[in-house]
Symmetry: C2
Subunit: 456 residues, 2 copies
């Protein structure tokens, strides 16, 4: 055990540019469609929701996008994050594999989400935005954006899925600590919310509904408010690439290179953040790292959804993109990985899975918590339930290596800590959790409801 376990970079080694996978996509980009006209969106349409500088990043063909100095200054509050060699876990598993993890839980809110929240707040401030709206499920994204908006002096309204607002008040409080306003969604503040409450006054809400509300508030604000999304979009994913760019340097410090890179996927942002810089090496530098996206069986977007055009939100107000989707009305089971319960997926990630550049796997909830507890007992860190999906597959792959006597190098993203999620661990320890695997008919029925959208 007397070898290095932690690879730290000082702030002089913070990346100076984000990596934009648009420059290296092996397949042509698909258009983003206006949900009313079904025609490709115009920048003017998107500008109702997003400032032009972020729209520019969304479609930029540039491989490298410079990180503005004020963003780097905030990043330095927790970045570069450490890369660990999981030596204790390797011993427990008795595997010849070398397991590394990049740990994003050291940010002030305990997850990777500030990596994009901070630049989004910065670019909005640059563009003159005075207020932002957003949605949040369990609250990881909302707390990150609340911190970022506070730093750049922007007001923030967060539409928080009502059941989480009621059952997980701690993330609400951290948002309020940073000065954000938080509303339990569905609310009476929007037409979408009022319509849903008229049908069911006790609606527990969903991420899709909360997105619709946050989008409606921005779209009807007469330009005073913009909207911010914490995953899925290209500018979000590219902001996250600081994770993988740092990890490339840190793997070099460890004098190894990963045979596998693993991350969990909800909308795709933490996964892409780690994986895309390694895909860049695959595409342009002759590397052949396996890149594995892990999702829950209860929301099997990549493994069982269709790759087609669909709406980003429940109400059909958000732009239409080509992606893996279970349909905008898909209601995933109430698993404890709130960040992985989105019906769709990032378009670039979907295209790369479709093209065979990225593998996708789905894992069950119980096996995921078993992996999380094995990891906590070996490495100390109690992972967020989302991140535990990556741990599960990393352990599985390390055990395959043991069987095969194969000394592979495995790298996964530990995207956040679980200190806000101990209720989920409690349920698991008390035997209250179960697995959710959708029967084929249920998935077929959902797929049959997908809109058939022909390009205009």
């Amino acid at each position: 055990m007397n070898e290095q376990t932690k690879y730290v970079l000082d702030e002089a080694h913070l990346p100076e540019a984000w990596y934009n996978i648009n420059a290296d996509m092996p397949v042509p980009p698909q258009p983003v469609l206006n949900p009313q006209t079904l025609e490709p969106v115009t920048p003017e349409f998107l500008n109702v929701l997003f400032p032009m500088n972020l729209i520019g990043q969304e479609v930029s063909p540039d491989r490298w996008i410079e990180i503005p100095e004020p963003v780097r200054e905030v990043y330095k509050l927790w970045r570069p994050t450490p890369l660990f060699r999981a030596r204790r876990l390797e011993l427990v598993l008795d595997t010849p594999a070398h397991i590394y993890y990049k740990y994003e839980g050291v940010s002030p809110v305990g997850s990777h989400k500030p990596n994009t929240a901070v630049p989004q707040a910065f670019y909005n401030k640059e563009a003159g935005t005075q207020a932002l709206t957003t949605e949040t499920g369990a609250g990881q994204w909302g707390s990150a954006l609340a911190m970022a908006c506070n730093f750049f002096d922007i007001d923030l309204e967060v539409y928080m899925v009502k059941v989480s607002y009621q059952q997980k008040p701690y993330r609400r409080v951290i948002m309020e600590t940073y000065g954000a306003e938080v509303f339990p969604s569905p609310t009476e503040k929007t037409a979408v919310g009022r319509q849903i409450l008229a049908q069911d006054a006790n609606s527990p809400g969903s991420l899709g509904i909360a997105i619709s509300e946050a989008v409606e508030v921005a779209a009807t604000s007469g330009g005073t408010k913009k909207y911010s999304l914490g995953s899925v979009l290209n500018h979000v994913l590219l902001h996250q690439t600081v994770i993988g760019l740092e990890a490339l340097d840190q793997m070099e410090m460890a004098d190894e290179y990963p045979d596998m890179v693993i991350g969990c996927t909800g909308g795709g942002s933490n996964f892409a953040g780690l994986a895309y810089p390694f895909l860049h090496q695959n595409f342009t530098n002759g590397k052949s790292t396996r890149v594995i996206a892990v999702e829950p069986t209860s929301c099997p977007t990549l493994t069982r959804g269709h790759y087609t055009f669909d709406y980003g939100d429940t109400a059909g107000m958000a732009p239409i993109v080509k992606m893996h989707t279970l349909g905008r009305n898909f209601v995933p089971a109430g698993i404890h990985a709130g960040g992985l319960r989105y019906h769709g997926m990032s378009p670039s990630l979907s295209a790369l899975v479709h093209n065979g550049d990225i593998e996708a796997q789905a894992v069950n909830q119980l096996a995921t918590f078993e992996a999380a507890i094995q990891f906590a007992k070996a490495e100390g860190i109690v992972a967020a339930p989302e991140s535990a999906h990556a741990i599960r597959v990393a352990i599985d792959e390390a055990l395959h290596c043991k069987e095969a006597g194969d000394k592979k190098v495995i790298l996964f993203n530990l995207s956040g800590h679980g200190h806000f999620d101990m209720g989920a661990y409690n349920d698991f320890l008390q035997g209250k959790l179960q697995d959710y695997e959708y029967p084929a008919e249920a998935v077929e029925a959902a797929m049959a409801q997908l809109p058939e959208i022909e390009l205009a």
Copy 2:
């Protein structure tokens, strides 16, 4: 803002030895007394509770105590911890002072407590201990020891103050995640617990009661169980000095030296961990850093308690030490800094305050949360309510510097994050918290009840 904000050390710079202030105490040590005989304790008496190797550290005159390699290996899971220059806070305060903070919240359980939990588990394992008992209030200590015992394969029973067990289940769950058994104290498992429950079946418990229970279980185990304490004792404080030893290196990286070192004090361990290595410089190297211990006005042990011999626990089963104390029956108000609600204080820290080497200040709860929120908005990190006491005084001192035009260097210990304490922030934001300052008569009455212990 384009200057360094974060000073990181790689694991090669992890300290190789702890600093033991016994070697440099400016006043002679006071004896520890057997609570039954009132005579100085023998190692045999202490050995009922603690293994001989830790008893040896308790009374060691050696200035440096080598950190065993297996302990350093575990430390590397989060240490060295970062030192930050709080540039954003300096800007907000518009102060000429330079404010630094050492951040212990990056440990897997979010606080400094594992710094001693890990060596205590290691030394117990070395001594053949198979099971440990301990108490915990809000759960910071219990979760740290649960992680440590898991690493060294020792069983752990935690007696958790019942009101926290019921109201703050998350820390209980993290202890259980690492494999510990947690009981709401008072329990029916001990004579002390049964006696208290007989008087009040609904007793909410207290830290003093929980200590008595954990001590009783170890003392009556026939040698199969030892007891572990998370603060107060010399071996605990010296394990924490990795904090200050790293900070000395990091201040040198920053090319500055602190005029003031500040920490919060409950039993004294995080404070001593940062401060004692700087006191060592004061004592032996001609430095004259002001060293400031901060406690809550609701438990004003150092500022209003007496410096005298008193029992370490409520039931009078623990050894008697000379310390600042409010009396073992003192019940502090229900403030949200659970770690600062102990009636006594570390003997060495008490002696150093008595001798004038350390200053003590008490701060109110509301001002403390105001400081915590100002800090969170400036620096991002939401602090544990305990650590917020140090923030309050650091901000006060920085504001004094502003008035005086004085460019002082301030260093404080941010001993943990507040992600488990958002209920307290919620109460503060909703205006439900209040200040507790004891009237002089109440303190006098408590002091009148202190035992008059003459050395035998």
